[in-house]
C-alpha cells in the first residue's frame, strides 16, 4: 500500500435513525421549552464555569439530541442561572439543567 501523505477524513455523517433519542424525548416531555432552543450559544458564552470545566449548555442539548452521554458536562454546572438571563428564547435553562440531572439520577 502506498502512503500518499494524507488519509481519508473520518466521516462526520450523523445517521439519525441510529441515534438513541429516548433521554431527549423524556426531557422534552418534562421541559417542552427545550424545543425552542436554537443552539445560539448565548448560554455557553455567559457561563461562569465553562472556562474552568468545559460546561456548555449548548453542547449538552446538542449531545442529548445526538444520544451521547452528557452527565459529566452537566455535573460542571454551578446553577448560577446566568444562562437563563441571556437566553433569547426565554428558556428557564437553570430549571432545564436541574431536570436533566434528575433524569440522569433516575
Amino acid at each position: 500500500m502506498i502512503d500518499f501523505g494524507f488519509q481519508k477524513a473520518k466521516s462526520s455523517t450523523v445517521n439519525l435513525d441510529n441515534v438513541d433519542m429516548r433521554l431527549y424525548y423524556a426531557l422534552a416531555e418534562k421541559e417542552p421549552d427545550i424545543k425552542r432552543c436554537m443552539e445560539c450559544g448565548s448560554c455557553t458564552a455567559a457561563c461562569t464555569s465553562g472556562p474552568f470545566n468545559g460546561m456548555s449548555l449548548r453542547q449538552v442539548i446538542h449531545g442529548l439530541q445526538r444520544g451521547t452521554d452528557v452527565r459529566q458536562m452537566v455535573s460542571g454546572c454551578m446553577l448560577c442561572g446566568k444562562c437563563s438571563m441571556v437566553c433569547p428564547r426565554g428558556i428557564n435553562t437553570r430549571h432545564l439543567l436541574l431536570t436533566i440531572s434528575r433524569i440522569y439520577t433516575k
Partner: protein, 356 residues
C-alpha cells in the same frame, strides 16, 4: 397540481441556448487534465455541427481558482472577467461560451453582482480602463460548453457511429452523471434543469442510447473543493467526499461516469487509483475501476473518433472494457503514441487496479 401550474414551474428550469455564433474560452486546468476534451469540442462543433465557435488566443484565466482559494479579491476577479468580455466585444460576439464550470459560475456571479450593484459595474469598468484601456459590452448570453453539446445532442445522435449499448446483450449501458457544483448549485436558473432536476448530461446519455442510473449521493460534490485539495493536509476531506460517492454508486454497477466539470472527472478518476492503492478496493468489475468521461470525450466516442486521438490514454482508470462493450475498435499498441507516432512514454501501473 393543475397542468398549467406545472408548466409554469417547469419553465423556471428551462434554459434558452442560442443556436450559433459563440465566443469560446478554454479552461486553465482541463488543458492539463484531459487536453483532448477541449480540442474535440472545437472539432465537433466546427466540423461535425458546423457552428461558428470563435476562439481568441489573448484570453486568460477567469481568476476562479484563485477566487475560490481566497487568494485574490473579488474586484480583481471581476476586472479579469471584464477583460474577457472586452475581448469578446472586440471580436464582435455576444454569446459567451466557457469550457470550465468554475468559470461559468464566476461569470454568472459577476454578471448577477453587476445587476444587483450597478455602482460596482461602473467601478470595474473604471478599473479595466485604467489597467488596459479596454471597454466591454456584457454578453447577451453565457453558456457552458456542455449546454452547447446538450443543445445539439440529437444532431450528434443522428451522426453517431456507435450507441451507448452493450453490443453483446443489446442492453443500454448504465451511466451515472455528475454535474459540477458551480454549474447549477450557485445560480440554479442558469443551468438546464436547475439544481433539482439537472438534465444537461442525462439528456446526452439518453439521446446517445444509454440509461441514466440514479443513486443516493448523486448530487454530492466530487470532493475537489479547491482548498480541500490544494492544501495537502486537507486532501483527506477531498478523498472522503469521492469515497462517499463511490460507495453510494457501487451497488448500482454503472458502466461509466459522465461529468461536465474540469475537476470532477479528474478527481473521480484519480481518487479511484488512490482508493485502490490505499485500501485495495476497486469499484468496477474484475479489478477494474469505473471509467470517467467528459461529455466531449463521450460525444467523440459515439461519433467514431479514435479513442487515443481524444486523449483517453490520459485516464487513470482503464477505458478499454468500456470500448469493448460498445464495440469501438482501437489499437492497443497505439495507446501511448503521440503525434507522428512518437512514443510518449508509458506510465507505471497501479498494483491494485487493472490498467494497461
Amino acid at each position: 397540481m393543475i397542468y398549467q401550474g406545472k408548466q409554469k414551474i417547469w419553465a423556471d428550469y428551462q434554459k434558452e441556448i442560442p443556436d450559433d455564433h459563440w465566443y469560446y474560452v478554454r479552461s486553465c486546468i482541463r488543458q492539463n487534465f484531459f487536453p483532448g476534451s477541449e480540442k474535440m469540442f472545437t472539432k465537433i462543433t466546427r466540423e461535425d455541427l458546423g457552428l461558428d465557435m470563435y476562439e481568441n488566443e489573448h484570453h486568460t484565466t477567469c481568476g476562479g481558482i484563485a477566487y475560490h482559494c481566497d487568494t485574490i479579491p473579488q474586484e480583481t476577479v471581476m476586472t479579469i472577467v471584464a477583460r474577457q468580455f472586452a475581448l469578446m466585444t472586440e471580436a464582435g460576439y455576444e454569446n459567451y461560451c466557457c469550457s470550465c464550470i468554475t468559470s461559468f459560475g464566476n461569470y454568472i456571479e459577476t454578471l448577477e453582482s453587476w445587476h444587483e450593484f450597478p455602482e460596482l459595474e461602473a467601478r470595474i469598468r473604471e478599473h479595466l480602463w485604467k489597467s488596459c484601456k479596454r471597454e466591454f459590452n456584457k454578453p447577451k448570453y453565457v453558456a457552458h460548453t456542455s449546454d452547447v453539446i446538450y443543445k445539439h445532442r440529437n444532431e450528434i445522435a443522428e451522426k453517431a457511429k456507435f450507441r451507448l449499448v452493450d453490443k453483446n446483450t443489446g442492453e443500454p449501458l448504465r451511466g451515472v452523471e455528475h454535474i459540477g457544483c458551480h454549474y447549477n448549485k450557485m445560480f440554479p436558473s442558469k443551468g438546464v434543469g436547475g439544481a433539482e432536476y439537472p438534465y444537461v448530461l442525462c439528456g446526452m446519455i439518453e439521446s446517445w442510447g444509454g440509461q441514466v442510473v440514479d443513486y443516493p449521493e448523486r448530487r454530492h460534490c466530487c470532493g475537489y473543493g479547491f482548498r480541500q485539495y490544494h492544501i495537502r493536509a486537507n486532501r483527506g476531506y477531498s478523498f472522503a467526499n469521492t469515497h462517499k460517492k463511490f460507495e453510494s454508486m457501487e451497488p448500482y454497477h454503472p458502466d461509466f461516469i459522465l461529468t461536465n466539470c474540469p475537476g470532477c472527472p479528474y478527481f473521480l478518476d484519480r481518487w479511484q487509483y488512490v482508493t485502490a492503492e490505499t485500501e485495495g478496493k476497486t469499484y468496477g468489475r474484475n479489478g477494474y475501476g469505473i471509467p470517467v468521461f467528459t461529455y466531449e470525450e463521450l460525444a467523440s466516442l459515439v461519433l467514431g473518433y479514435d479513442p487515443w486521438d481524444i486523449g483517453l490514454q490520459l485516464h487513470q482508470v482503464a477505458v478499454e472494457p468500456f470500448l469493448d462493450k460498445i464495440g469501438i475498435e482501437y489499437d492497443p499498441d497505439a495507446k501511448y503514441l503521440g503525434v507522428n507516432k512518437k512514443d510518449i512514454g508509458r506510465p507505471s501501473l497501479p498494483e491494485h487496479m487493472v490498467c494497461f
